[in-house]
Symmetry: C2
Subunit: 245 residues, 2 copies
DNA sequence: GCAAAAGTGTTGTTTATACACCCATGT
DNA sequence: ACATGGGTGTATAAACAACACTTTTGC
């Protein structure tokens, strides 16, 4: 068991995309119902943990991700620090922390990270063990602590980054159709895009490479599959320009 | 005297502009010379401090700014968290911290902020008392701790923000000429801009308002003075578009 | 053969870039 | 009268936005 530092935590906004919806991986929490002594209320929080004194912040975030998804080596970036002295202010949140960690919780400063995951590659059994669930972002309305605020900031940052660097590929399978890519842009940006203009623009990026494969078993003209070539991207001049849809 | 939390600090990258050069406000440090027992070496660090358990992070950063410049209510924004367990690794840095604070320093996670100041309004006597100096950013080559890295990130962020929101005005006097504004853009972006195109573009922003005043006592055609109107900016639709030079 | 989504081009409008001369002031 | 930086316009190229029909597959 790791020795945790009760002053500092890491919380992760973990985004995934199922082809249609943007989702976040949340962990379920059971807390005593203040009105019914023997009942419990279920609510949700962002995956997070205190850090140990020996580990890097990013390492702590990676540890959490590994536990929940089985994945390593995925997109993970610092988002924001939430450090208000009163950010943990609900009694049930304080109690829950004290009970589950056994630590003397007072003020906690949390460093939020956001991560982009290929849902299909994440191992569902890890999530189940840890009581985690993929939930559509649009359906999330409240969370424990200040986690809803953290999620909103994650969304805003994702939206901004998407227009600057090709982060979308982190959320798609290794091979994908342009329609999937466009759906992803649309759901993150929250508006429809003209599909001719979208293709014209995105295909100018040489790091988006066409494969010879096509969709199979679809009841319509099968779409060509594309891949993202990270090497080409890292060498390209477009790196700092990005797209503006 | 405030009771400080030795796990968490705030460091500030404080930018200023003197009409020609981009500068940062650094604090001078005198540390014993390991080679000459009775001599001291001078080096520089970013202004920073540990936080108290009761104060917000931003409040701590504001406290530091107030001490050094006498200014309140200035542009101040979270930059990045530096949390490597080994980020304080030079012996002279550890010793200096222990001696000046009297605290048991082990690992320190620091939240970096960046701030934009009108140098002319900052009170030099406060800086003097605290051993602080404005130094040209281009002349800074090394700093204590990992502060050089923090400064570099501050610069990069400033460059990016400048193209997204009109932060430049925070660095200029209340009234300024378009030439001063262009100089500022040029020095931050690190390249020359065509002055006709610059004017055309920047004047499209309705929050840049012309005054009836002109430069005085200059040996050439006096330039018109402009002001930044924050109210108009906050109401304008351009807010999220910004400029692209 | 029909339903369903893939894929493709053109035109008008806006925005970016490149470039050179006259103007108002102080000395 | 001259030195200094302020201030202005136009033409060309590039990017963006709007818009509709044909193609390929499974059933």
């Amino acid at each position: 068991m790791l020795k945790l530092n009760p002053h500092l935590s890491v919380d992760c906004v973990i985004f995934g995309f199922d082809g249609q919806n943007l989702k976040a991986l949340l962990t379920k929490r059971n807390i005593p119902d203040p009105e019914n002594a023997n009942k419990f209320i279920t609510d949700y929080k962002l995956p997070g943990d205190f850090i140990t004194d020996e580990e890097d912040l990013q390492t702590a975030a990676n540890r959490i991700l590994k536990e929940l998804t089985g994945l390593t080596n995925i997109f993970l970036k610092q988002l924001w620090v939430f450090g208000s002295p009163r950010r943990i202010n609900k009694e049930r949140d304080i109690n829950w922390l004290r009970e589950t960690t056994g630590l003397p919780i007072e003020r906690v400063v949390t460093i939020a990270y956001y991560s982009l995951i290929k849902i299909a590659e994440s191992q569902q059994e890890n999530a189940n063990i840890n009581n985690a669930l993929w939930i559509k972002v649009e359906e999330i309305s409240e969370l424990a602590f200040d986690h809803f605020e953290i999620l909103q900031r994650g969304l805003k940052t994702l939206r901004t980054r998407l227009q600057i660097e090709p982060v979308g590929f982190e959320l798609l399978p290794r091979q994908f159709t342009l329609r999937q890519l466009q759906n992803l842009y649309e759901v993150i940006l929250g508006r429809e895009l003209d599909n001719r203009n979208f293709r014209k623009k995105i295909l100018k990026a040489e790091y988006l490479v066409a494969t010879d494969d096509k969709e199979k078993e679809v009841a319509h003209k099968p779409a060509r599959l594309f891949m993202f070539d990270k090497d080409i991207y890292e060498k390209s001049e477009m790196r700092d320009l990005g797209f503006q849809f």
